[in-house]
Amino acid sequence: MSKKQPIFECRDLKIEARPWDAPPIPIVKGVSFDVNPGEVVALIGESGSGKTTISLASLGYTKPGLHFSGGEALLLGKDMITIDAEEKRLRRGEHVAYLAQSAAATFNPALKIGEQVTESAVLHGEMSQEAANIRAEELYNALELPDPDRIGGRYPHQVSGGQLQRLMAAMALVEKPSLLVLDEPTTALDVTTQIEVLKAFKKVIEEEGSAAIYVTHDLAVVAQIADHIVVLYSGEVMEQGPVEEIINRPKHAYTKRLMAAVRPSPEAGQGIATSKEHMRDVPALQVKNVSAGYGRGANGQPAVKVLRDINVSVERGHVVGVIGESGCGKSTLARVMAGLLPASEGEVLLDGNVLKPALQDRARDELQLVQFVFQMADTALNPRQTIGDIIGRPLTFYQGITGRERREKVLDIMRMVELPPEFEGRQPAELSGGQKQRVNLARGLAANPEVLLCDEVTSALDTIVGANVIKLLERLRKETGVSFVFISHDLSTVSSFADEIVVLYAGRVVEQGPVDEVLSPPFHPYTRLLITSVPEMRVGWLEDTMETREAAAGIAGAVEITEVGCPFFNRCPLKIDGVCDTQAPPIRQHAKGHQIACHHDLDEIEESEHQPQKVLTGYERALVDEEAAKVTKA
């Protein structure tokens, strides 16, 4: 390797917060690393570790309230901290570009995508509008976006989340920056979309030859895209080195701890054996033939039907994991169970008794037994109430407990969810994300429910914090016998924690059964796509996966809600034209309680899984289509 000058050098960088009424608080405590040409450096750590703050230093930027207090951030040999504002402005976009976590929040919904992608290049006087348009189209092609010649003319709401994320990459790359800063660009995406985006990022970084700083807390993603890893904790570098070395031979205790918190890939046999001790002859909660949706359509039906004919039962003391991509109706199912959204057809049973569809018609003790835990603890806790009031309210409301007795119970529950007692008088804003999620759970538990509906409760949390919350849930179900409906898009978490899994696709159950059955063959083609899409913490996994048939057929597709036939039709590698798109698939029983909805019989599905998986190239596929066209003509 020739000894080239690094694109970006971080030299003993120090950043501090300066509150007006307290001495400065160091946020970044002397961090050094290099980014060489063509190299992707990953900054990993939990939230609060300073990884985003450090990455922003490469643009010479700090968030309000933070100040550079030492060290240098050299971009192509120039210190971004000390240069004047005008020079900073010119360098941003031309030499360094930033890609934020949420593309949906970054794009202006009122402007066409193409205008926004080319804006900075034209403003900087780098290119004419025409040249910028050509360059943008080149990038759309490289990022494998559909319709590269027309996508620029659309508005942000007209493309999918994964596409928007890639369009944001095009926006960042349009001026050919030497350094690209990516801040958790795939964290908010579904696994299948994540693969698609990762693949495009990796390809475009290689083709453009730019260096990148990749900020994330997801080690499995890092293993796919990074060359070099910097592990951060509390503003300090714990360990840094080549990706192979950190992933396979971590030395520092903190890195090892991070590794330990990563869930293994979903496989049969990882979960806890189904517990029988709390079981009764009647399921705690049962959903029978439920359909539901939003808006008001003709003859009492919802205008948009999100769930169709759902049958799920939750045994007492069991954990039922509900998985699927965003938009498949997971949260809607939980809202129907809680009564927040009345079902338009079918019924919900609690301990064998039919519940009224709407919340306001249900009796107070029925409400008490089914508790809903919201996804975002940040918004689910009233910022003006103390933790003690938040947890104590269900005690007073359902059980009439007040005064000293209530206070003691609140402290008991706080102990149960591992919150220190001094938090009782604090407000939610004074707690960390993980702590808030514990309060959120504690509020549900305080009602002494039979079923706890958990909507993506770990999705917004860091790996380690999320793992701790799962550990807590495992303990709680053993101790209390509460049943959980655990909604998640993260199959790894569900597979290590649930007794049963329900796989939803476009509002229908495509497969359900005991966790070990669902995670071993035969698979519904969609379940298989989900399983193969969960990134493994292994270098080279992305390339291997992209060669499978599932990836080729399904990953690029989007969820479409169909009235007739199988909803997975347009993404299915095993689809039968003329059958799958016209008839609803039959439900096939495999083992006890294991159901798969598919037109193929189970032997066919199982057999197809053993066939070598060959991907057709574009050319080969064109040949096949031509053959097919000839046949139909004849």
Partner: protein
């Protein structure tokens, strides 16, 4: 793969705690402009309370004799002297005393009217936000009707019909300004009603009263309190304008607005001949309203853009 996922023996989970991601709580800190403004407002509030007790004369007292006891030929528009520190008005009353007495009338009426506007506006605004649908539509259109009249026009019509008295003025200003408070309360309420914590309360089965008093109002309190200051300023100006037009507070009760109007002819005489008579009460109005505005600005700047956005 498996060896990395199992917990290694040397992983010590006690050292690396979850990092707190919450910023330390910041208290309100006023800029020096804000501090001076607070002092100005506090000064006027103090005058409003004790003014009539410490004022040299009664508000309706005509100065007819000088300090030695000799009658004065023309006591109107006298220059400041040791007898009348700010001079006298067109009828020969002490301006300083009238400002001190008038503080109570002006600030008192405005404050009570603003409180009234707030109780009506918030009740209706939150009710509209929570109930939605038909109730919301009915209330909103009613408020639109009130808002479509210029405030002063509406005031003039009502006073022309019912005559002017202090309770009437309070009621009038209260109702007129309730309309704009309604708008803000409704917008804030709608914002809060879609928050997850309100949905969590609904899922728990909480009644409407709990949701309004414990979930919605505490979260709307801060922006509403900030808006209260601004609204108070509008009401002061509204009452002063009515008084200036001769339709507000009636003589002999002193009020800053009517003082400006009654002494307007003094302005033509220049500073040497009675301009202070209308200028002093005008200055009092300006100093109080500007000071309140500056405090509100300071608070909204501290609360960040979110508050400022909701106020506009």
């Amino acid at each position: 793969m498996t060896d990395t996922t199992n917990t290694s023996p040397d992983v010590d989970s006690s050292i690396y705690d979850e990092l707190p991601d919450a910023p330390p709580k910041t208290r309100l800190r006023l800029s020096w402009v804000g501090k001076i403004s607070v002092a100005v407002v506090a000064f006027w509030v103090f005058i409003a309370i004790v003014g009539p007790y410490i004022a040299p004369y009664h508000e309706a007292f005509f100065i007819e004799d000088d300090l030695a006891g000799n009658p004065i030929d023309d006591p109107s528009f006298m220059l400041p002297s040791s007898q009348a520190w700010l001079g006298t008005d067109y009828l020969g009353r002490d301006i300083l005393s009238r400002i001190m007495w008038g503080a109570r009338t002006t600030i008192g009426i405005s404050f009570i009217a603003t409180l009234l506007a707030y109780s009506i506006g918030i009740t209706m605004g939150i009710a509209a936000a929570v109930a939605g649908g038909w109730t919301d539509a009915a209330l909103s259109r009613m408020v639109d009707a009130v808002l479509s009249f210029p405030n002063i026009m509406l005031g003039l019509i009502v006073i022309a019909a019912f005559g002017s008295s202090i309770p009437m003025l309070i009621l009038l200003a209260g109702v007129i300004y309730a309309a704009s408070v309604f708008r803000i309360a409704r917008a804030l309420g709608q914002d809060i009603m879609v928050q997850d914590y309100v949905e969590a309360a609904r899922a728990r089965g909480e009644g409407l009263w709990w949701i309004i008093s414990k979930e919605v109002l505490p979260n709307a309190a801060m922006p509403l309190a900030t808006d209260f200051g601004l609204r108070l300023v509008f009401v002061i100006l509204f009452i002063s304008t009515l008084s200036f037009l001769g339709l507000g507070v009636q003589p002999p009760i002193s009020d800053w607005g009517s003082m400006v109007r009654a002494n307007l002819q003094g302005l033509g005489n220049g500073l040497g001949g009675g301009a202070l008579a209308p200028l002093a009460p005008a200055l009092a109005i300006a100093s109080l309203t500007i000071a309140i505005n500056l405090i509100v600005d300071d608070i909204s700047a501290q609360a960040g853009g979110s508050l400022a956005g909701k106020m506009s």
